[in-house]
Symmetry: none
Subunit: 215 residues, 2 copies
Amino acid sequence: MIKILMIEDDPEFAELLTEYLAQFDMQVTNFEDPFLGLSAGVYNYDLMILDLTLPGMDGLEVCEEAARKYDIPIIISSARSDINDKLASFELGADDYLPKPYDPKELHARILSLLRRRSRGDSAPQTPRSDFEIQGETIYFKGEALHLTPAEFEILSQLVHSQGIAISREQLINASTVMSDSSQKSLDVIISKIRAKLGDPKRIQAVRGIGYKLV
Amino acid sequence: MIKILMIEDDPEFAELLTEYLAQFDMQVTNFEDPFLGLSAGVYNYDLMILDLTLPGMDGLEVCEEAARKYDIPIIISSARSDINDKLASFELGADDYLPKPYDPKELHARILSLLRRRSRGDSAPQTPRSDFEIQGETIYFKGEALHLTPAEFEILSQLVHSQGIAISREQLINASTVMSDSSQKSLDVIISKIRAKLGDPKRIQAVRGIGYKLV
DNA sequence: AACCCCATGATCAAGATCCTCATGATCGAA
DNA sequence: TTCGATCATGAGGATCTTGATCATGGGGTT
C-alpha cells in the first residue's frame, strides 16, 4: 500500500484522482488546506501531489518546506503551465511537474517511476520466507551454499529476486555480464546445470515462449 | 562536470541542447545512431536523454536496455506526445518524459531535479564516474597508486581510456610497445596480474571471443 | 478425442575460450 | 657476472558455447 499526501483545493478533481489511484493500491489523503496538509504528519506518506494554486498560501512555499524538512518526493500538479512556475518548482525541490489537464494514467506512471527510482535497493520488499538467500557472491539454498559458476550465479540471482514470476530469456541473458548476448542456446545449458545443483529440477520451471520462473 | 549521453537523430536540435547545457557545466555527447550510443560506454555517463523516433531501432528498446543494464537515469525527449508512448516509457524504466517542443530551461531544471533525487534517496552509493586516474606513468585506483610493470601499465591504460567498452585482444597487444605481437598468450597473464593488483577481479571482464572490458 | 506435426525445451558431449600456476627466457642494473 | 624484475610459454582445470539428439507440449485435422 502506497500512501500519498495530496494538497489540492478542487474537491472534485481530488476525488477523481483518489478513485483512480485506489485501483493500484495507492491510498490518497487529500487536504484542501495546505496548512492542514503540512501538519498532518508528512513522515507517514510515500509521496506528495501538490497543487500550486492554493488558498492562503503559495504552493511553492509548501513545496519548499516539504522538500527541505521531509525530503518527500513531490509531484506538482498545476493548472499553471508557465515555464517560470516550472523552473521555480524544480528549484525548490519538486521532482516532477504535471500541467493540468493530464491523463490520470500519466500521473500513475510518473508516481511509479519516481518511487521506483527512489526505493531502488531499499529494504527488500517483504519477501515471504524463501529457502534461497543471497549473500554477496554466494547463494544459499536450504541453508547450504551452492557452488555456482559466474553465469549460473547471475542467472539464479535474477530468478531468486523475482521469485514466482517469469523472466524472459532475453532479460536473463542481457543482464548477464558473462554470457554473450547472441546465443540463446547457452541459457538452456546453464539452467540445466543449476537444476542439477539444486537437486530439485522442478524448482525452475520453463515458461513456454517466455523464459523461466523460480517457484 | 556532469556527463550526459544523448541519443537524438536531429543534429540541429542536438547541437542546440548541447550548447545550452554547456553553460551549466554539463557535457553532452550525442549519438545519432542508437546502436553506437549504447555501445559507447554508458557507464561513463550520469544521465541519458533519449529521443523516441530513431532510425533503425525503436527508442523504447533503447530505453529498456539502458535502464535494465545500466540503471542510468533516463529522460525521454520525444515529438510524440501520445499517452501510450508516455506510459510505455515509464513502464520500461524512464524517469521523465518531455514532449517536444520544450524550453531548454525546463530540461535543465528536470535534469537537476533527477540528479538531486538520485544522489540522495537512491541507495546506490553515488559511485564516482571512474575510480581510475592516470597521471603520467602511474595509474591511481581508488586514490592509491598502483605498482605496475610496463606491460601492465600499457594494457590497463587502454582499458581505462575506454572504460565500459570492450577492446580486442589484438588491439591490446598491438598497441603495446613492450609485448611481442606474436604471443596472444601473454595477455592472459598480464590481465591476471592486473586483476590481482586491483584486488577486484571483476573490474576487468573477459568478453568471450573479443577481448577485455573494464567496468 | 485421437492423431500427427512442429516449435520449443532438456540433456549430453565435444570443442573453444579463459584463468592460474609454474617454469624458462630475456634484459637491465648493481 | 650476478641478481632481480619482467615477459613468454606451456599445462591443467574450469567454464562457456555449440551442435546433436531426445522429450514435451500445443495446435490443427480428421
